[in-house]
Amino acid sequence: MKLHEYQSKQIFSNYGIPIPSGRVTANAADAKQIAEELGGHVVIKSQVLVGGRGKAGGIRLAKSPQQAEDLATQILGMEIKGLPVRKVLVDEAASIETEIYLGITNDRAERKPVLMASSAGGVEIEQVAKETPDKIVKVHIDPLLGLRDYQARDIAAGIDLPREHWRTFGQIGRGLWQAYLRSDATLAEINPLVITSRNRLLAVDGKMVLDDNALFRHPDLAEMRDVDVEPKAETEARKFSLSFIKLDGYIGCMVNGAGLAMATMDIIKLHGGKPANFLDIGGGASSEKVAAALRIILSDANVKAVLFNIFGGITRGDEVARGILAALQEVKTDAPMVARLVGTNAEEGRQILSGANMITAETLVDAAKKAISAAQGGKQV
């Protein structure tokens, strides 16, 4: 789960990291008020969960409260990469001398968090990593020990940070580690961390990504979720603990198991079709869950056919079949359906579905081919 800049910086501030004075608002008149309080010279920053806000005109400098209001009005009316701007952050403008990158993320290959810094801050760190990897210094953190002070000093020295800043930099590093640790983040980054013309370190921009699996122990953070960023169907799917990703094809897929769901999408593509979604109904899916899944698939107008691929293990074929029938009572559709049931209680499942006017398939390849041809026939409807 991604957090907005203002949310991330608020968390950073709670852990002692210096951030600019400022407030978030959804209202342009408010932006003017905030700008007045901050002395007039402010930066108006759109709060959307995509990169490239600056280039899209979503981050602007204002020299007066009136200009702050005008710019806020503009920005609050924008869409950036398809996402509506609902809030702006009004921050005191900082005069920037130097821009540094500082971030902590999970290095899955090393199975440890890694602290990274670069004197080439302010731009996409992936780009720096690709083009000038020697400009990034890294240190792995033992998850049982946490970040040690010497490691922060090593990083400071590694990016040639003037010694007068090492102490504060160490505090910021520790703060960032605590923010990452205590929020169960998978990414906590300050980009840029600036040295101002008054020679202060300041976290001008911040970004955090949290581990969805850990939100159960952070109800306060879970409430910060911005559902604008994902298609409605994905929000709906989460309610039923379904794993769903919308794609741009026309064959709806309902599969149990993530790997098998991916393989099913691949096989559709391999035979010239296009999957409309990734959907894993999980293990032991109940009828209610299956019905919800089918509703979500059919809510996509592009779907011309639906493919069910269920390999029964914990999930029982008969239960899934009953769910499909229940869903069909509720959701009327002309889309043809192809079902492939294998494994636990597959035979019972097939019998339940035999009255439901479904196309059945034996193998994966067979199922994919039948779904593709059914979708092509279905286009004329």
């Binding site: 159960f216 990703i245 790997g259 393989a263 990734f278």
Partner: protein
């Protein structure tokens, strides 16, 4: 022969009185796996499944009383890391964690702790292990595979069943099937299992089922080039997955240019691994 689990496995089930734990213990017993004890804190002294399996309050007590050598964990995600530490501290040498949804920072601490102790963890978020005819440790359905000479290692769950079943339909059996799990940080990697299959005299061929995300398949390719003499056939799921979207498994995500199916397939093909274009093709490539 086989790897990791067999007739000598003396199995402990952590979380045995929960729905999942009890259901799968029943199936493991029906497969004649040697399930000797269970643990649920606060339920020590009870017996489950018509008196077949005694329940203990802690892994330490169960270990002392019954001499278990392997543990399978079915406890909910929020307690799972603790269950793994408990098994490790009690001296269990092989821990299999089925639980899905464990926070990744928990797993980083767990993995670093276990590495210091030299204890093997399989999973989490995995279907467990199956040595056909000998032991079923986890949730892989027993009847979809039979004894044979093919070693199977996979990051997936039902996709693995699909492959085992396809093998069985053409008369091919397995030595052991190991589900290593779909999380970004897990206990056992492809390399670990490939090395064990190479050393196992009964295993003649190896099937490896990977998916998008991370670089474990690429590392496996290097390992195969340097250390394996046995033929390997692979399948990589997620060729159609868009970048930046998590495909169900916490680990199945293409991030900033790495972890794509194309990269993985190329890395494997470059070292002579035959990569199937769909799961059912694996059987043809093994012939």
């Amino acid at each position: 022969m086989s790897i990791l689990v067999d007739k000598n496995t003396r199995l402990l089930v952590q979380g045995i009185t929960g729905n999942e734990g009890l259901f799968h213990t029943q199936h493991m017993l029906a497969y004649r796996t040697n399930v000797v004890a269970g643990v649920t804190p606060g339920k020590g002294g009870e017996w489950v499944l018509e008196g077949k399996v005694p329940v203990f309050d802690s892994v330490r007590i169960a270990h002392e009383a019954t001499g278990v050598n392997t543990s399978v964990i079915f406890v909910p995600a929020r307690f799972a890391a603790d269950a793994i530490y408990e098994a490790a501290d009690a001296g269990i040498q092989l821990i299999v964690c089925i639980t899905e949804g464990i926070p990744v920072q928990d797993m980083m601490r767990v993995r670093n702790y276990l590495d210091q102790k030299g204890i093997r963890l399989v999973g989490p978020n995995c279907p467990g292990l199956l040595t056909p005819g000998e032991a079923k440790v986890g949730i892989i359905p027993g009847d979809i595979s039979m004894p044979g000479n093919i070693g199977v290692v996979s990051r997936s769950g039902t996709l693995t069943y699909e492959v085992l079943y396809a093998l069985k339909l053409v008369g091919l059996g397995t030595t052991t099937c190991v589900g290593i799990g779909g999380d970004p940080v897990n206990g056992t990697s492809f390399i670990d299992v490939l090395g064990m299959f190479e050393a196992d005299p009964q295993t003649d061929k190896i099937v490896m089922i990977g998916e998008i995300g991370g670089t474990d398949e690429e590392k496996a390719a290097e390992f195969i080039a340097d250390h394996l003499t046995k033929p390997v056939v692979a399948f990589i799921a997620g060729q159609t997955a868009p970048p930046g979207k998590r495909m169900g498994h916490a680990g199945a995500i293409v991030e900033s240019g790495s972890g794509t199916a194309v990269d993985k397939i190329k890395a494997l093909q470059d070292v002579g691994v035959r990569v199937a274009s769909h799961p059912e093709e694996i059987t043809e490539l093994l012939a």
